[in-house]
Symmetry: C2
Subunit: 178 residues, 2 copies
């Protein structure tokens, strides 16, 4: 049964929410990294991602400048790195060195891959679209990489307050429908 509640209350039922890390190249050649939770596939052919990145983010500034970035799926052992990347500001802090995330060379762009991620997607900026209070960055995937460890699981935000975890499928039986 449904009960009408504040929008802010109802949206707290959204978890688990996916989280990705986004790498960009800084003016000094170093790498910046940011955690993004508002993310979805936006096109199949070609594959595109939509990322909600706030106006003040260093990543947003660097994406507009470089017009390229990497979307990485962190694994379920990277909670500390994701929390750090998502709660510190790239203008003030070299997040990559501070949290010890390993990076490796991408195939087609300058922004690096995250060596330990489940998968990495090299993206070219297609558009920035703003239907509400947040710029939505659209990236076209031009190359992809996956971790050689096949069983590696993605990290998710599992509860309010940036509570991060892996998630285990709890298989439910699908009854037959007409």
């Amino acid at each position: 049964m449904q009960k009408k509640v504040n929008i802010e209350k109802a949206i707290r039922r959204k978890y688990p929410e996916q989280v990705v890390l986004v790498t960009t190249v800084k003016p000094n050649g170093g790498t910046n990294v940011m955690a993004v939770g508002w993310v979805a596939i936006a096109s199949s052919e070609p594959l595109m991602f939509m990322l909600g990145i706030d106006d003040g983010a260093f990543t947003y500034e660097l994406i507009r400048k470089n017009r390229e970035f990497v979307v990485a799926f962190p694994h379920d052992g990277m909670a500390a790195e994701v929390l750090f990347a998502g709660s510190r500001h790239g203008h003030d802090c070299d997040k990559i060195s501070k949290c010890g995330i390993k990076v490796s060379k991408a195939a087609k762009i300058k922004a690096p891959l995250l060596t330990d991620a489940v998968a990495n997607f090299e993206c070219k900026l297609v558009d920035i679209y703003r239907p509400g209070d947040c710029p939505l960055v659209i990236g076209r995937v031009i190359a992809a990489h996956e971790n050689v460890r096949a069983g590696l699981k993605r990290l998710y935000t599992v509860a309010p307050g940036h509570k991060l975890s892996g998630v285990k499928p709890a298989i439910v039986k699908i009854k037959k429908n007409g």
Copy 2:
């Protein structure tokens, strides 16, 4: 370690992926329902959702006509209904009656709530945006409802082939970072 692979292969590492059900009103006054996996929050204030809905979908036609719809989070016991809603075409089939999904009256729009869902969001169409091969429907939430059962868990797509399940958080320890 990363290995460069086809984009189609790497994106199969995306799971669990969220899935929502979208209700719309049909010209005969009945309800249509569709499952959508390309979904993300697109704005905070006001709250907006982005939904990737393919051109041929009855839902897409009805959203353009009515300019309103409901986004519902199915619970982990609704796998059969979601699979049915996502694999049958609303033009040919009254999906609501066929799979026995219960609906109830919304507060501000004609499209109904799903009575058993984890939460329901009444949306007004803001825009349709197409960066790639899929229309992205942007809806502004104008009212929200949640299930009175607080512990109810959302359903997710947990593997390729529309394999649906609940997901159990597997809490990982966050080590301290400087």
